[in-house]
């Protein structure tokens, strides 16, 4: 990030390369209950990103050394499919997927009422089928809808969203070029109803004012994505069979 400062990422009319305004998200669509074998599932399309999340459990935590006597553990496996990017990704865990699995599990643990299921495990599988920057955020959003679909009790539906900085300008929801050649990336997990932040990472540098503006964009986008999440769950069950 920030290593290619001479790449033009904003057009002369102030818009971004794909025509979006600075505070405009890529189109988002969500479908709940896409996998019949899972207890809960969801597919999120965010721009060119496609993520599928499946939730299994709560079940007895194995191996027993991972059990917690007073709460459930959330076991997240984030994985990018080999065909998800233009360069083939070597299948299996790597440093990046381990890190994202861990931060996603931490974020989800703060919203799931884990104390309801001592000694249990809730398994969350996140598979990125197509990647175009911001996959950890899309994965978190998909996992939240899948957890709700599985009937797991939660304080709120957590939303993953990111903003960043390109050409010294704060923008919402970085695409691939902005992510690769921009100056900063600020992915967050937001609880829209309470305004709490369950997870925050920052890559690159932002001044305090830029940070404030980026968070303002993130909160605005989180509200929009949250409405789409609720709508996806409603479409699955309202008027249909449950």
């Amino acid at each position: 990030m920030g290593g290619y400062g001479d790449v033009q990422l904003l057009r002369d009319d102030g818009r971004r390369l794909d025509g979006r305004k600075l505070d405009e998200m890529r189109p988002v669509s969500i479908e709940a209950g896409v996998l019949p074998a899972a207890d809960g599932s969801a597919m999120v399309t965010h721009g060119l990103n496609v993520a599928v999340a499946a939730v299994y459990g709560p079940m007895e935590a194995h191996p027993r050394k991972i059990q917690r006597q007073d709460r459930a553990v959330i076991d997240v496996r984030y994985n990018m499919a080999p065909f998800s990017t233009s360069d083939r990704i070597r299948p299996g865990f790597n440093r990046r997927s381990r890190e994202i699995s861990k931060v996603t599990a931490d974020a989800l643990e703060s919203v799931v009422l884990v104390e309801r299921y001592p000694r249990s495990k809730i398994r969350v599988e996140i598979e990125i089928l197509a990647a175009e920057a911001g996959t950890r955020c899309v994965g978190i959003t998909a996992a939240a809808v899948a957890l709700a679909d599985a009937g797991i009790p939660m304080r709120d539906l957590i939303v993953g969203v990111a903003s960043g900085k390109v050409e010294d300008t704060v923008v919402l929801d970085l695409d691939k070029a902005e992510d690769n050649y921009g100056q900063a990336d600020l992915p967050v997990g937001i609880l829209p109803n309470t305004g709490e932040i369950a997870f925050l990472q920052m890559d690159g540098d932002l001044s305090p004012d830029e940070f404030e503006l980026a968070m303002e964009y993130n909160f605005k986008a989180a509200k929009e994505i949250h409405e789409i999440m609720v709508d996806a769950l409603r479409r699955r069950y309202e008027g249909g069979e449950a």
Binding site: P58, D149, M154
Partner: protein, 229 residues
């Protein structure tokens, strides 16, 4: 769970959704109180009963409670106990002292082996989710015939109806023996055709769990069953 619902239009709620002020009301299952208002924690249908707001979940895992009648499947056998799959997060443990037979140490497998189905009751559940089962009691036994089907746990009350009235109608109409376990397993025994009709009826009721026209569906199925008889 579903009992006591009226025909009023139900509202679907999602986790985190504010469902109204908490003043003068009690929080039931699927609801937490925060900042003087109630927040839904599960995806489901909002209901109010006796001044208690709760969520009738669309999906729920079976949480065993002491006294539950369950249909279990033997998953593991040891010298002096059986582990039962009870469709919950954890297996249930049936010690030989709570089996209906006198079992010699090391002879547990002669009475029940892996895959056998039993009607049992939850004797005890501790705070760490250790579940102890018993087969000492009226009607608790190994189920040697019939078919076992699965229902979503949150819909079994719909199948049973108030005071088991709906279940009794199903039994009478299908001429089957039907036991509905609290863990979402249903045991049905009768002629092959009757079992098929009874299973269809049970699933039709479970599928329409949030509708108000269940009895209409049941009447249609009763007519169909009688027509085939």
């Amino acid at each position: 769970m579903s009992q006591g619902q009226t025909g009023a239009e139900q509202r679907l709620v999602t986790p985190g959704m504010a469902v109204g002020p908490s003043a003068g009301k009690r929080a039931g299952s699927g609801i937490i109180a925060a900042n003087e208002s109630f927040i839904a924690t599960q995806l489901g249908w909002l209901k109010e009963n006796n001044n208690t707001i709760s969520v009738d979940p669309i999906h729920a895992a079976y949480m065993p409670r002491s006294g539950d009648l369950i249909v279990g499947v033997v998953a593991e056998v040891r010298n002096n106990l059986w582990f039962m799959d009870i469709n919950g997060s954890f297996q249930g443990l049936l010690p030989m002292s709570l089996a209906p037979w006198k079992v010699e140490f090391g002879a547990a497998r002669q009475h029940m082996d892996i895959g056998d189905v039993v009607l049992a009751r939850v004797q005890e559940v501790d705070e760490c989710h250790n579940v102890v089962l018993t087969m000492k009691g009226v009607g608790l036994r190994r189920l040697k015939q019939g078919a076992v089907d699965m229902l979503p746990v949150q819909h079994i009350d719909r199948v049973r109806g108030a005071n088991n009235e709906r279940l009794q109608r199903l039994r009478d109409a299908s001429d089957c023996r039907i036991m509905v376990g609290e863990n979402g397993r249903v045991w049905i025994d009768g002629t092959p055709d009757a079992i098929k009709h009874a299973r269809d009826a049970v699933h039709a009721i479970a599928r329409s769990a949030h509708r108000t026209d269940i009895d209409t569906i049941l009447n249609e199925l009763e007519t169909k069953m009688k027509g085939d008889a």
